[in-house]
């Protein structure tokens, strides 16, 4: 495989970690013991029997499930089998991603299935007992639908720092039935962005339709495997330590078809996993490596990502809590575990608990946006526009997040301290000391332009009012004016001819 020359490079970091070697080893050991002693409650008969053949101890339960206990040798062999490099393709080759486990190169993308699309209208308000007036964002909550998904994909295409697209809203159109959701959502996404498209699968029955859409776009069966323009997320674990029938089945079928898939788990520390760091990370790691083991039993060498979405619960209502420092701990630890295993990491950052853009959202997002990628995850999802603990997608927030991630990417750049820079420093200092004004301003000029010096905040306001949300909204409207780069007419026509159930209102050529 060629170097990243033709893909989105992201930013290569010198990774930080929370855990030392012996602590990583301890987590690994604890996960193995969990899988050896407690095992996974598996609701998929097929998975249980495959795992049994592979050497697991399988004990039937009375509720149609079985307990699968994993020998450590099997897990370690399967982890070895999982490829350390996974290619995620794209309609435009320059948008493809080469994820290498040993290379801490960070990319950011959207995610994932919010119910609400938060529309915003700037409105003018007048002071009650005075003359002053102010512009203020007023929000409307729209239910996700396929047209809003098209809009979101189009917006995400324009966001400079967004490296891949995971569908941001789920589609709740009354005229699209369950069986046709997958084809509609993948087509809506792929037709509006030329970046990599990833999503979960609603119905196993539509897997082949979706793959067929990918084949038509990529130019054939083999071509899709070489340039997988789409890939899948399967959260096979239901924490604690259960494999659900539906998603486990989907994962196995995706793997059989040679498509890349994320094997993920998303426990809540304090409700479905221990809240303590050791407990949370040992359990989620056990769930993920058990899933990866199953994938490699089904098809050795199958391209999978280590999908860690560890969340903390809040104690007032046991709902998810993303803006918590522990969220960062858990995620960083998982990134270190994935690196230890040599499997590319699908990680998580940037979800706000806040319901609308503003100070709270910014605080919550910035801690995880800035800190988690420092650990060097190859693929950071949830990073754009998500609010209200993933229930809401706000396109204006996505624009704000793009600016924030721009800052983070710059911050993560490797230091430029070397002999040449030292030479330049000496001659610069000698020169400046010879002037009357003693200012280094002239030496900033090229750096300002080649991007080595970062500009001030994109949405700063010169007046004392903070208009960043309104300015981001304006920017979004500007970005939406850029004409979408649809698939070509013949490709779209072919897709509509072959794939039943696609709604006409998202066909740009109809």
């Amino acid at each position: 495989m060629n170097d990243n020359a033709n893909g989105r490079e992201g930013v290569l970091v010198d990774p930080i970690g929370r855990l030392g070697e012996s602590q990583l080893e301890l987590i690994h050991e604890t996960s193995l013991k969990i899988l050896e002693r407690v095992g996974i409650i598996c609701y998929s008969d097929e998975a249980s029997s495959l795992l049994k053949d592979a050497g697991c101890e399988v004990v039937e339960r009375d509720d149609d499930a079985s307990v699968v206990r994993f020998p450590r040798g099997l897990i370690e062999r399967c982890i070895e089998l999982a490829p350390s490099t996974v290619l995620l393709g794209a309609r435009d080759p320059e948008n493809s991603l080469v994820l290498r486990a040993e290379e801490p190169r960070v990319r950011f993308g959207s995610g994932s299935e919010a119910n609400v699309y938060l529309e915003m209208e700037p409105s003018k308000f007048k002071q009650e007992d005075g003359e002053a007036s102010i512009e203020y964002p007023v929000y409307r909550r729209l239910r996700g639908n396929v047209e809003l998904l098209c809009e979101a994909a189009h917006l995400c295409q324009q966001l400079e720092n967004l490296d891949f697209f995971i569908r941001t809203v789920n589609i709740q159109d009354s005229d699209i039935d369950e069986m046709d959701k997958d084809a509609n959502k993948f087509f809506a996404s792929l037709n509006n962005t030329s970046k990599h498209v990833m999503a979960g699968l609603t119905c196993l029955e539509s897997l082949d339709k979706v793959i067929r859409i990918g084949e038509i776009i990529a130019g054939g069966e083999k071509e899709l495997r070489e340039n997988p323009v789409l890939s899948f997320i399967t959260c096979i674990a239901k924490s604690p330590l259960q494999f659900v029938e539906d998603t486990t089945g989907k994962m196995m079928e995706i793997v059989r078809r040679g498509m890349p898939v994320v094997i993920s788990s998303s426990p809540q520390g304090g409700s479905t996993a221990p809240i303590q760091e050791t407990g949370m990370v040992s359990q989620i790691n056990a769930e993920i490596i058990a899933g990866i083991t199953l994938s490699q039993v089904v098809k050795p060498g199958a391209p999978v990502l280590y999908g860690s979405v560890p969340v903390r619960a809040r104690m007032d209502d046991l709902n998810d809590l993303y803006g918590a420092p522990e969220f960062c701990w858990y995620n960083i630890d998982c990134i270190q575990m994935a690196r230890r295993y040599g499997i590319p990491c699908y990680s998580t950052a940037g979800v706000g608990d806040a319901k609308v853009p503003g100070v709270q959202a910014t605080v919550e997002k910035l801690i995880s946006h800035a800190v988690i990628p420092m650990a060097g995850a190859q693929y950071v999802h949830y990073a754009f526009g998500l609010l209200e603990k993933t229930n809401v997608f706000s396109p204006d927030q996505a624009v704000l997040d793009d600016a924030q991630i721009g800052i983070v990417k710059h911050m993560l750049k490797a230091p430029d301290v070397n002999g040449e820079a030292a030479e330049a420093t000496l001659s610069m200092i000698e020169e400046v000391m010879g002037t009357s004004h003693k200012l280094y301003a002239r030496y900033t000029r090229k750096s300002m332009r080649n991007g080595t010096v970062f500009p001030p905040y994109q949405f700063e306001t010169k007046e004392s009012e903070d208009r960043s949300v309104l300015e981001a909204h304006r920017r979004r409207l500007e970005l939406m004016e850029v004409p979408p780069r649809y698939l070509s007419r013949p490709v779209v026509e072919r897709i509509y001819k072959e794939i039943a159930g696609l709604v006409d209102r998202i066909n740009p050529y109809s």
Binding site: S436, H437, L439, A441, R442, T444, R445, K446
Partner: protein
């Protein structure tokens, strides 16, 4: 190179902010090729008049720089780099201009007041004034009121610019203005003041003639005071 080509070359190097051949410039790496000082020397040696160099190369270069700034193509460091080329060129041209009886646009004495060491803002103001053709006598920082007054009188400056960044030193501005009363030169000089704690109200209160919030306002004041 023909004469007018040489003038064009000077103009281009002003725009690029290249004082001499070791400066690299902005659009491309031009280091090694002659910069403004070398080109000005060359022009003078070929008998091109100092006034022509000033008007047809240097001023027109600065006009171009100003336009690029207006359009957002240039930033303050680019203006300063260009202003430095003008400063360097003026050092060479000054004796020739004097001989030809051509006066500078106006003459300003600049200083940060007594007790105050902050001079970044004042230096920017000074560079920009030089860059637009004013003759600037910079006394530095922490300057005694009497020394400021003597410098104004000796140099027959038509303007004085005072800078203060501390609330504890701003009153030195009024002391300085008052120090003129002994020498009676106050009606010949326009005083502008600036620095973060200064305001137009304060300027009025102490009897200054103008307040500038930044280097651009300083330029505008200078133009007003010199009737340009």
């Amino acid at each position: 190179m023909k004469g007018d080509e040489l003038l064009q070359e000077i103009e281009l190097n002003v725009v690029q902010g290249r004082r001499n051949s070791s400066d690299e410039g902005l659009d491309e790496d031009l280091s090694g090729t002659p910069g403004v000082t070398e080109l000005v020397e060359d022009a003078l040696n070929r008998g091109i008049g100092a006034k022509g160099i000033l008007v047809d190369a240097i001023s027109s270069g600065m006009t171009e720089v100003g336009e690029r700034y207006e359009k957002g193509m240039y930033f303050l460091p680019d203006m300063l780099a260009a202003a430095e080329t003008v400063e360097a060129a003026m050092e060479i041209l000054e004796p020739y201009l004097l001989k030809a009886g051509i006066e500078s646009r106006g003459k300003i004495v600049l200083a940060t007041v007594k007790g105050d060491l902050h001079d970044i803002g004042k230096n920017i103001v000074g560079l920009m004034l030089k860059g637009t053709g004013y003759s600037v006598i910079d006394l530095g920082n922490n300057v005694d009121p009497d020394d400021i007054v003597s410098a104004v009188v000796e140099n027959e400056a038509n303007m004085l610019g005072l800078s203060a960044l501390l609330t504890t030193t701003m009153h030195q501005m009024s002391e300085t203005i008052e120090a003129f009363s002994g020498v009676g030169f106050r009606d010949k000089v326009k005083v502008m003041v600036g620095g973060a704690p200064i305001s137009s109200e304060f300027a009025e209160e102490i009897g200054a003639d103008g307040y500038g919030k930044d280097a651009f306002e300083a330029l505008k004041l200078a133009d007003d005071f010199t009737d340009i």
